[in-house]
């Protein structure tokens, strides 16, 4: 019986903003097991980022709750790490690559050598062990996002949450980074919650794909991806099953956009 790591229950978020009252999230509920890689997709503007911030404890939901490892999330938990889409703004430009990766470790009770060990290991894992003395802005966009991933890896979280992390990098780099995420998952057994608007990416990466409706958001479908754990950019994407799944998800998203989907459990 796989152990439940993350549980989202009846989550609702209403914004009081300059243009009035906006219900971003209607009612979202799903769970994620330890060691799973779950992708969340939805039409653009469906409140994915809002959901993520609620899970990460950066935003307080209007109703409902998030539990991580049995504990209710009210503020950013220690055993969670985030990778943001805006790598340029989430890395601190005044710190070197090493400084950035090391920063969150400084308040953990670790010896200096343990810390160095963790940083070295994380940088090696993302293939940046040679660039630790550079500054983030001296690196290309893909490289910068690797630094952000290394920072999250070194933090040794129970769960890694990634918010459209590859939306702003070019296609080739993106493929490399996707494989990096797969590697982290398969080799290190990391639990990853991956938010994206790219349907192919969600199917390629995920063991499960959670499809969100348009705003106010609810879970339209929770789809298991029955592809083999060893995935490859060329062969996996060429599989007929891959095409079926992505077509299925695509249709769901189109329905979501048109607002055709009707909540079954409402």
């Amino acid at each position: 019986m796989p152990e439940t790591l993350l549980k989202v229950e009846s989550l609702n978020k209403v914004y009081e903003s300059a243009t009035g009252r906006v219900e971003a999230i209607g009612d979202i509920g799903f769970t994620m097991n330890r060691g799973e890689l779950v992708c969340i997709v939805g039409p653009s503007g469906c409140g994915k980022t809002t959901l993520l911030k609620c899970i990460a404890g950066l935003l307080r939901p209007t109703a409902g709750e998030v539990t991580l490892d049995g504990k209710k999330v009210t503020s950013p938990p220690d055993n969670m790490a985030l990778v943001f889409q805006e790598y340029g703004r989430s890395l601190y430009p005044w710190l070197t690559v090493r400084g950035n990766v090391e920063l969150p470790l400084k308040h953990k009770k670790l010896s200096k050598s343990e810390r160095t060990q963790l940083v070295d290991d994380a940088l090696l894992a993302v293939g940046l062990d040679h660039a630790d003395k550079s500054y983030p802005w001296q690196l290309s966009g893909g490289m910068q996002q690797r630094v952000a991933i290394a920072r999250a890896v070194a933090y040794q979280p129970e769960v890694l949450i990634m918010d459209e992390p590859f939306a702003a990098v070019d296609a080739q780099t993106r493929a490399d980074l996707e494989d990096l995420v797969r590697t982290l998952h398969s080799e290190r057994g990391m639990s990853i919650l991956f938010v994206t608007h790219d349907i192919d990416e969600s199917v390629y990466l995920g063991e499960r794909v959670v499809v969100l409706s348009k705003s106010p958001t609810w879970v339209q479908e929770d789809l298991a991806i029955d592809l083999a754990p060893e995935r490859d950019q060329i062969t996996t994407r060429a599989l007929p099953r891959f095409t079926e799944l992505r077509t299925h998800v695509y249709e769901q998203i189109q329905r979501a956009k048109r607002g055709e989907a009707v909540r079954s459990n409402a």
């Binding site: 009035g20 219900e23 348009k214 106010p216």
Partner: protein
């Protein structure tokens, strides 16, 4: 966000914003009142000799008396006239020289040392010299005001001209725009927000120097009235004039910030997101 249900909350929202403004106004008033009360207590409880620190009420009474005196208004007028003329000259000269020097790289390199040396010299150091050349009247004060505020405009315009987008410049060149046309359509629009920042800084500096000049040169105005009052130990008048100069500075700051914001907002829509 998306087309999500905008409810009737807009009135509630307005109320919230009004609440924010109200909060600011209330807290700000508390701050000012608290300051005045502390001042009053320091003086009335004789923690500080009231001969030297007259109470807030005495000071404001004196201020009221001054405000009924036409000569006081004339002094305000004199100070502000020197300020305005000085600022106008500094802006004009600063803009013209800044644009010319900024657009001609070799002139920029040639003048760099001179600028770096002349800019930090406090203009008050020239007071003896300007009295020698121009006497004890407004022209002498103007030199001091212009020298100090000129650099603010000049340097900002230099930054502005340097900030011209390379793509925009190449585009202008590739379409064969004339120098005059480049100046009008590319250089000035890019440099405008910088110019406004420069003018705002210059306006504040010009007021400082206008008052300082009156204090040291002795041309008529608020500064001279302050020195005269201080010279006979009339501290209520001294404090009243300090308050008036502060208010003048406040008006100048608020006014020029508003102008700057206006030019900036117009500008941002043209060149898009500006990270600063």
């Amino acid at each position: 966000m998306t087309t999500a249900t905008p409810t009737t909350a807009s009135t509630g929202h307005r109320r919230r914003r009004n609440l924010g403004t109200l909060r600011r106004a209330v807290l700000g008033t508390i701050g000012v009142v608290g300051f005045l009360a502390a001042w009053q207590l320091l003086s009335t409880l004789r923690i500080i000799n009231p001969e030297q620190l007259p109470s807030a009420t005495d000071t404001f009474a004196q201020l009221g008396a001054l405000l009924r005196d036409l000569e006081f208004w004339r002094n305000i007028g004199r100070t502000m006239t020197a300020w305005a003329i000085g600022l106008a000259i500094a802006t004009l000269v600063g803009t013209v020289l800044g644009t010319v020097v900024g657009m001609l790289p070799f002139v920029r390199r040639l003048t760099h040392t001179m600028v770096e040396f002349l800019r930090p010299i406090p203009s008050v150091a020239f007071i003896p010299l300007v009295i020698l050349m121009l006497g004890l009247q407004m022209p002498a004060a103007l030199v001091i005001i212009v020298y100090a505020s000129f650099w603010q405009v000049f340097v900002q315009v230099l930054y502005g001209v340097a900030d011209i987008d390379t793509v925009a410049r190449d585009t202008a060149r590739s379409f064969g725009l004339t120098r005059a046309s480049q100046l009008r359509n590319l250089v000035l629009p890019t440099a405008l927000p910088y110019l406004m920042t420069g003018v705002r800084l210059a306006a504040a500096v010009a007021l400082i120097l206008a008052v300082t000049a009156e204090m040291t040169i002795g041309n008529p105005g608020l500064g001279r009235q302050l020195t005269l009052a201080s010279g006979i130990g009339n501290y209520t008048t001294v404090y009243a004039i300090v308050i008036v100069t502060g208010l003048l500075g406040l008006i100048i700051n608020i006014g020029f910030r508003a102008i700057e914001r206006r030019t900036l907002s117009w500008h941002q829509s043209v060149r898009g997101d500006v990270a600063s």
